[in-house]
Symmetry: C2
Subunit: 205 residues, 2 copies
DNA sequence: CACAATTATGAGCAATCACTCAGGTCTTGA
DNA sequence: TCAAGACCTGAGTGATTGCTCATAATTGTG
């Protein structure tokens, strides 16, 4: 425990209830502000104002602005993997069509509540090597899982499973980016149906 | 020609050769700087430095930073539509598989030289309503063309051509975002092959 | 109640950045 | 050759922003 350690972490851990409450309020406010103004224009003062606290308090819980972004991204990633693990733990459907449907729906649901925030998070992730690496890790894990699935499922007839797995994952991700950004968002059900159809016909050969 | 018009355009049009040359250098430098540092961190001073000119000169050719971004995006959009028009003017292949191959290759080639810049341009486009509208217009035109194609081609058997067209366009766009961002970019040929296969099998039903 | 630890405050600092302007240098044309 | 206009220069300005710190308020503990 070096005594001259840099102030990379803010103070100590919260001890009182109101502290943890303030932390939550900061994160919620940051999510709103970032989603609305983007990362660069989402100033820390604005976040504090929206959270109903002073700017000083904000910096007692986060060492800097980037740390807030990191925490938001971490939470999303953790939520996503938790949901995925839960699905993978149970029994999967037999047909690949139904398997794809499960995954596509999972992806859609995970991003349906705040697409703008999610878009921002993924855009700003490259700002930090650590975040970029973390996102990359999750993505690589998904690609690996998909490749296993493609290689072992009897219905699947694609040859280049490595490329196919990347293509499938990228296509599902795309669901997100087309559900949001557009001012005229596509209907979630229809998108799901068509995407599942496309993926299924593709891997069946 | 109102005399009190705001200084939205910088000075007059360039008259001498060196002026046009300087303009080009600014745009080239901006492309590099934006691609490397992103829009927010790509300062105008850095652009001027990279272009080998003074910051004052930069502001004789562009009224503000956003105008540089706008010009870069406009050029990309114009180049892209020009290439598309040229392809659409000539005779298209018979089979949809070959048609898709033509379009996918077009998209890949258009974005192969500077993927980072392109990513940045599309991310920052929402900063301006005008740019957003311009991008939206191009995209809508592509979707419309695709829908026509899907409805008139004998091999195509999808029912919901509206959704299918959007899905096809989004999938092709995806080629870009997966060719670049990743530190381990996918092989262009393989991606092209698999993507064409996926789209073809999808629309054939 | 006292008093120490924890949490909250917000004016202000230092740094950064887009952009200006007063004045230079170069090119052109007569 | 020599003005007049075109082009270039770069230190500086005003505004913004991330963040600090001295101080105050609140809470837990005996």
């Amino acid at each position: 425990m070096p005594s001259d350690q840099r102030r990379i972490q803010p103070r100590k851990q919260p001890r009182q209830v109101r502290a943890e409450l303030t932390r939550q309020r900061i994160l919620t406010a940051a999510a709103h502000v970032f989603a609305e103004h983007g990362y660069a224009a989402g100033t820390t003062n604005r976040i504090a104002e929206r959270a109903g606290i002073s700017i000083g308090s904000l910096y007692q819980y986060f060492p800097n602005k980037d740390a807030i972004l990191a925490e938001l991204l971490t939470r999303h990633l953790d939520d996503g993997t938790a949901a995925a693990v839960q699905v993978l733990t149970g029994p999967l459907p037999e047909s690949i069509e139904d398997v794809f449907r499960v995954f596509v729906r999972l992806a859609v649901e995970a991003h349906l509540d705040d697409p703008h925030l999610l878009r921002m998070l993924l855009e700003e992730a490259p700002r930090s090597n650590e975040l970029l690496e973390r996102v990359g890790k999750v993505k690589r894990a998904m690609v690996e899982h998909t490749r296993d699935l493609l290689e072992n499922h009897p219905e699947v007839r694609v040859a280049d499973t490595a490329t196919a797995a990347r293509l499938v994952i990228a296509t599902v991700e795309l669901a997100v980016h087309d559900l949001l950004a557009e001012p005229d968002p596509i209907d979630a059900r229809r998108l799901e149906d068509e995407m599942v159809a496309m993926l299924t016909r593709y891997v069946r050969g």
